[in-house]
Point group: C2
Chain length 315, copies 2
């Protein structure tokens, strides 16, 4: 664990700088209040795990494509100019989903990361529109020529994000999660729901990093398996965290799923079983990446450490 803390912070900081420059001076916007609400939610801290996954995968793809890997083993590789914009797009999409999830008609959460959620800090109509406009912005960022010279890559990035966000991805998963309040899901159904609700965006982030970094098919397959494994590990870790933590620790209301009668992976597997399963998934994620290369590079290590970080986080 040597690369992770400083690089994760660097990735988060630079993604936020990219977002800040995209939002510009919010007061100068034609609709300043809306821009302010978008910036409020998109720049509300967080670990920026999706951004780190985009950047980490892009760096691994670029490093792997170098003719002589010894060239890059010493320093920490470049992620390419456009990757930060891709990372920023994923954070915009994620921020939109949090704004809408927090709405009174959805999870009705008044706080997010210890601050008033968007509809509390502004109002409900503004929050709905801020989420909507952050979704549009994510696609605008991806499709813009500044993001990648090859329009084929840009169009593929849009397809990745759009399919991960829509009815067969994040939005569909959120729908199934809401329905779980009235009809209990079994473990397999919960896995499908979570793979859509949070897994799809994590998977798309890793795959998009691979795309923008020019990953070859073998690496893309490895990245994809890695992403699916950490996506599920992430959710199991979230369930463990939710059971252990107080609202103060989380910065948002805790134990809400249990209150709503929803079963979590901790219910299905027990606390020890859930911790073991998350660890197993993180290990398998690492093995999938190791299978794609015989070299060990800082770029590879970062993704391995991210997998471990995702299951450690606050516990």
């Amino acid at each position: 664990m040597t690369i992770l803390p400083s690089q994760l912070m660097s990735d988060a900081t630079r993604t936020e700088q990219c977002l800040t420059s995209v939002f510009g001076k919010t007061a100068d916007a034609t609709a300043p209040r809306l821009m302010e609400a978008m910036a409020y939610s998109a720049l509300n801290g967080g670990k920026r795990i999706r951004a780190a996954l985009v950047l980490g995968a892009a760096r691994l793809a670029i490093a792997t494509a170098k003719p002589d890997l010894s060239d890059v083993e010493e320093g920490f590789g470049d992620e390419g100019q456009g990757s930060l914009r891709v990372a920023a797009a994923f954070e915009c999409l994620h921020a939109y989903s949090l704004i809408h999830d927090d709405l009174p008609a959805m999870d009705d959460a008044d706080t997010r990361r210890g601050k008033p959620s968007c509809h509390v800090a502004f109002d409900e109509a503004t929050a709905i529109l801020a989420g909507d406009a952050l979704q549009s912005l994510a696609f605008e960022l991806l499709a813009d020529p500044l993001t990648h010279a090859d329009p084929g890559v840009r169009a593929s990035l849009v397809v990745e994000l759009a399919s991960a966000s829509g009815v067969n991805g994040m939005a569909g998963g959120q729908m199934l999660d809401l329905e779980a309040e009235t009809r209990a899901l079994d473990m397999d159904e919960t896995k499908v729901m979570q793979a859509m609700k949070t897994g799809a965006l994590i998977r798309a982030a890793v795959r998009s990093g691979g795309l923008v970094g020019g990953a070859d098919p073998a690496l893309m397959t490895g990245l994809d398996t890695y992403a699916v494994k950490i996506g599920l590990a992430f959710q199991i870790a979230d369930d463990i965290l939710d059971r252990q933590a107080s609202a103060e620790d989380l910065g948002k209301p805790a134990g809400r799923d249990a209150e709503a009668g929803k079963a979590s992976f901790v219910d299905f597997l027990g606390m020890d079983g859930a911790i073991d399963e998350a660890a197993k998934l993180a290990r398998e994620a690492g093995e999938a990446l190791h299978a794609t290369t015989s070299y060990s590079t800082p770029e590879l290590d970062y993704l391995l450490e991210l997998a471990s970080f995702i299951i450690r986080r606050e516990f």
Copy 2:
């Protein structure tokens, strides 16, 4: 007025067929209730003016590019395979905006085109998610290789739609419109608000038709001017309609803007002045197109007739 009625109906019908095939059998979706809500709103009739503008502009671009225009003067030209998907994408985006506009926290409208609005027919959470997923779907349609062989065109289509929908377009305009309930806008401010709220999407529809049909720069300039003019004419016509019509005619609550203390173009210009201004804009829109070609083709006539139709509609 010979081409319009049958072609407008054909364009609407074929766009709806495209949408129907995209939604598939909603019961087979992983999140069937969400897919059902999306289909409910996207297939809720309407004149499909945005689809007609996409298809009309695509056909004009294709006809104009033919070496010998006499080849196409007899029949009605082809709009190309992918244009229907572009038209469907614009209708998805438009449907999402109507779902979110109708929400209790926004315009709080219980009916839409004479039927219960999405949050009444389903529930508020489902309506929020259906709008969100329809936005994702619009971008997925545009970026998919089936839409156009050239990824540069697909990426440009995404940029057009994303910038027209976001904080500097539709969502920003809706924000300004909501703010107008507490601070009256003057006519210039109203024009800016409307250009964002409804004009941007109309403009993007016409431009996207041009893009997918391969319009040259001169035609694209003509199409752009046409689009800006009819976008404003559309809104003035809407204000006239809102003042004249009953809720039954509109299929949605009437006179809501006046109730909310918002000034409309009818207030600024008077009823006769508003009707004259809309007619002038429609005429200028046609002149902008005529300036790009010395031929008169059915493809050109369709766009001219659409401009007249937009200001006639129900009055």
